[in-house]
Structures are given as C-alpha cells and as structure tokens.
Amino acid sequence: MSLDKATVAKIAHLARIKVPDDELDHLAGELSQILTFVEQLGEVDTQDVPPMTSVAAQTLRRRKDEVTDGGYRDAVLSNGPETAEGFYVVPKVVE
C-alpha cells in the first residue's frame, strides 16, 4: 500500500499531530514502506482464527462499588499547564 501526501495529512489530522507540509512527502514514503512490510500478513491463512484481544488467560476481574479514590483536586490539577478556580482551562471551544 502506498500512501499519498493527502492521506498522510488526513491521518495526521485524525491523530492531532501537526506535520509541516515539507515533511509530508518523506513521511508518506516511510509509512508506505512500513505498510508494504506488514502486508506480508496477507499470506497467512486466518480463516476461522479468533483475533487475540489479550494473552492473559483470564476473565475480567471486578471491583466493589466503593468510593476509594478521588477527592484530591490539588493533586489532579498540580501538573496542569493552565488552571483557574479549580478547573482546567483551554482555548474557547465553540459547540
């Protein structure tokens, strides 16, 4: 699979990573090379093979419905680049 510039720009946008225009071509080449490499999987017969979610041979463990966490707003906010009045702050979002 060969990715073109436009596709790379689209993926970069989906991933919210700014990629300078002049890097798109090079990146498209690299990503295409990786995709070509992984496409050898097409050779493997996977008919009726269940896709693996986890290698851990167990089922989902559950916790009790008890409040055991939270209640430490300062700790939660202490690393925030911008906070005010107990909130995280970001540029205005228009809905």
Partner: protein, 483 residues
C-alpha cells in the same frame, strides 16, 4: 393518522432515540471516584479519570449488575460475553482521548418497551441494544470570554446507552417512550431519570418520508435534556426537513443541537468534521464474561415492573386502564395507592388518589414523595366516609384541611365539628321545620311534582350545615312527604 401536512401532501416522521442513562452507583465505572451530583469542580476525580500516564481501568461490578438488571427489565437478551472497546476522538472533556464503550459486542441485545398512548392504545417499540460506557467531563463555555473551563467530575461515570429501533412516528410517541423508559429505570433502581441534572439525556434521530417510502436521511439532535424538548425538537426538525425537501433541497446527515432559547435546531460546529472513531477492543480490559446463574439470580430479584403492575391493578382492583396507567407511571404513586387501597374499596381509593390527591399535588407542584397527606391518613379519611362519620362532600373539605396541615382526618373532623348527624330525632326536627316553612311546596309535591324532592333535601342539608347523614335525610323525608 399521524401525518404532517406539507405542501406536497402527507409526510411521516421516523424517530429513533438513543438515551444515555447514568447508572446509579457509588463509584465510577472504571475508577473508585465518587459519582454524586453537584460536587465542587474536579473534586471527584481520580488520576484514572483524568487519564494520567500509567493509569488503568478496573470495572465496577455494581455497574455491570445495573446494566443486566436494566436489560432484564427491558425483556432483552443478556449477552454473557461482551467486550469493551475504545472509541477514539479528541475533545477537551475526554481526557483519555478515547471513551471506553461497547461497540460490536454490547452487554445487552434486543429488547422492547410498550408505550401506553393517551388514547388508551399501546404500541411496542423495539430496543436495539444497551451498552455500558464512560461519561465525559463537562465543558463550561460561559466562565471566561476566551476560554473553556473543564470539570472532570463526570468523567468516567457509568452510562447505559439504550438505543431504540426507528419505530416511533410522532413526537408524542417519542415523549411516551422516554417517559416509559424513565419509569422502568426508576422501578429498577438503575437510573434516577433526573433529566435536569443530566442523569438522563437523549440523542434524537429524526427523518421524514412520504408514507410508505423508504427511510429518509436522518439528522441526530444531540443531548436533549427534557421530554418537552424532545417533543419540540422533533416537531421543529421534521418541519425543517419537510420544508427543505419541498423546496427541492436535500437533507445532509448531520449532528444538530436543540437551542433551548430560540426553540430551533442548529448544526453543531464542533461535530462538522467527519469522524473516524477507530474502535478497537480495549487492551487494558479483558472480555466481560457473565455467569448465567448470576443473571438468573438478578432476574429473580427484579421488582414488579409498570406493565405487570398495570395488568394486576386492572385485574385485582378492577381499575380502568386509564387509572391504572396513571397510578403505575411512577412506582411511588403505585405504592401510595396500594397502601390506601389495602382493606378498602379500591375504586374509591383510586378515585381519591388520582382525583383529589394528584389534583392538589399538581397545583402545589409537588411530587408524591412530598405529599402532606400520607397514605395512612388518606385511608383514614376513606374509612370515615365508609363508617358514616362524614359524608363524601364533607370529606372533600376535610381533605383540603389535611393537605394544608398534614393533620389526621379524625382530628380535623373533631376540631371542626364536621361529624355527620345520624341522630334521627335531630334530623326529624330539621325536616319538620323545613316542611313547615314550605307548606306550598309540600302541597305541590304531593300533587305529583316529584322533582321537588331534591329541593327539600337541599334545604335540610343547608339547615344542618351538610352534616346530616344523606341516607337518613332521604329516608325520613320520603316518609314524611308521603305521609
């Protein structure tokens, strides 16, 4: 029929609803932070909810149980194997950059909800699925002119997304659906259904078509937070779509908002971009396996739900379907009624509950839980009527006082001296006085003017301030008039 008249003829609305119902639980779906409403911003946030590096989700068993209970209440298929997926997108109040949800394999499959329509008919709406997912945080846009403030208290709270089939055709049906679903959730104790606090929110899918035509292109109206708005938004949106089509335009599939000040729907700018959620199974979690025996156990502990209760009220108490509907719509109402009806005439109990009590509550803007008149006292009032202590008419006066003061009916009757006069001597005396004062009318009656009987009864009741036992008045009056 339920069509909308357009310039080119009839149009039919097709409606499907996605209801997000907040699960009643102490802690969040994947973290141990509290879920209470109205806490200080970011005070109920764990490092998991704020998606700090290295934090991992562990599921709350109560939330699973609540989802299963709800599924059973919707007579739905419970999937013993289900999977949690990540729904990837960026948003300020979505700290992980993905929402943990269930995509291909939800915990609950197909079910149904029976709607009771105002005309007494009922209609079954299919439930496509129910799945568990995390709620997002809250963005506040009005705190600062150039900034949005983020509160993550709600981030990670468990939601049940309940998706209906596109089975509804009118705004009323959609309203009835939400009401019924809310009622079922409250009966089950799985969601408090409080739409003002956001614990129940609706995404409404609306499209229009000519009757019999295939489905049209739908628009999704996001996050509508009251039943009234759901109905208004549908009406508005249907007309908007019809106008566009009749003007030769075409509907763009899009996400819209209900503007609660202008009463219009409008396109959501933040959702304009095409999404690609890149769902995949969450590798931090394993598939959820339920034990069939455990599901059966939950089934055994389900409360009687509105449909069954209604059937029982009709069968056991001989109530009309209308009265039964009104009474079972909320569990608290049904419980109140049953407490009043116990050992009494159920028809009379129903009349008092749905008539006087609901009337007064409605006027006072109170819920049944806040009723100043307890079920015990209303029952006591009915007992006073039954044993002839007071008449039905006086009872209404007593009820008014009960609603105002919350006092016991017997106390009010005593205090106000409303006890019914059953002393035949006293009644005879009153009757004699009335007959004496109206000799001409007595003569007319005796010459065949039967209708005057009512006049005499009225005069006697007036003379006794309504306290005379009406049956005795009738009996003695008749004897004397005929004599």
């Amino acid at each position: 029929m339920s069509y909308i008249q357009g310039e080119t003829g009839d149009w039919e609305i097709v409606i499907g609803l996605e209801v997000h119902a907040q699960v009643i639980s102490n802690a969040k779906l994947f973290s141990g932070a509290a879920t209470a409403f109205g806490a200080e911003p970011n005070s109920q946030v764990s490092f998991v909810d704020a998606a700090f590096p290295g934090m991992l989700p562990v599921i709350n068993e109560r939330c699973i149980e609540q989802a299963v209970r709800t599924g059973l209440g919707l007579k739905a298929q419970i999937n013993l194997h289900s999977v949690f997926d990540r729904k990837n997108y960026f948003y300020a109040d979505l700290p992980q950059g993905y929402q943990i949800s269930q995509y291909l394999q939800p915990i609950v499959g197909k079910g149904e909800i029976v709607l009771d329509l105002p005309d007494g008919s009922s209609r079954t709406v299919g439930v496509t699925r129910l799945h568990l997912e995390q709620d997002a945080g809250k963005s506040l846009h009005d705190q600062h002119p150039a900034k949005t403030y983020i509160d993550l208290n709600r981030s990670g709270v468990a939601l049940m997304e309940i998706v209906s089939e596109p089975d509804m055709r009118t705004a009323e049906e959609a309203g009835a659906y939400v009401r019924k679903l809310r009622s079922i959730l409250r009966y089950l104790g799985t969601c408090d259904g409080n739409m003002e606090e956001g614990s129940m929110r609706c995404d409404v899918n609306v499209s229009v078509r000519k009757p019999g035509a295939p489905f049209g292109t739908r628009c999704e109206i996001k996050n509508v937070n009251s039943i009234r708005f759901v109905m208004q938004a549908i009406e508005y949106e249907a007309r908007r779509q019809i106008e566009i089509i009749e003007d030769g335009g075409k509907i763009d599939q899009e996400t819209r908002l209900w503007d609660t000040t202008k009463f219009v729907t409008r396109s959501m700018r933040s959702k304009e971009e095409a999404h690609d959620y890149r769902y995949f199974p969450d590798p931090d979690l394993l598939p959820l396996e339920l034990d069939a025996e455990w599901v059966e156990e939950i089934k055994r502990t389900l409360p009687e739900l509105p449909d069954d209760k209604k059937a029982r009220f009709i069968g056991e108490y001989r109530l009309s379907p209308y009265d039964a509907d009104v009474l079972v719509s909320e569990k608290a109402r049904a419980d109140f009624f049953e407490a009043v009806a116990k050992g009494r005439d159920p028809k009379l109990a129903a009349n008092w509950v749905t008539g006087e009590l609901f009337g007064y509550l409605n006027k006072a803007g109170k819920e049944i839980e806040e009723s100043p008149v307890s079920a015990e006292n209303l029952g006591g009032l009915i007992d006073l009527i039954a044993d002839n202590t007071i008449s039905g008419r006086i009872a209404k006066e007593v009820f008014e006082a009960m609603f105002e003061t919350g006092e016991k009916p017997a106390d009010i009757v005593e205090k106000k001296g409303l006890r019914q006069v059953t002393d035949t001597g006293a009644i005879e005396a009153s009757i004699d006085a009335v007959l004496a004062a109206n000799a001409d009318k007595v003569a007319e009656f005796r010459s065949g003017k039967d209708k005057l009987f009512g006049f005499f009864v009225g005069q006697v009741m007036k003379a006794t301030q309504g306290k005379a036992n009406p049956a005795l008045v009738n009996e003695i009056l008749m004897t004397k008039l005929k004599g």
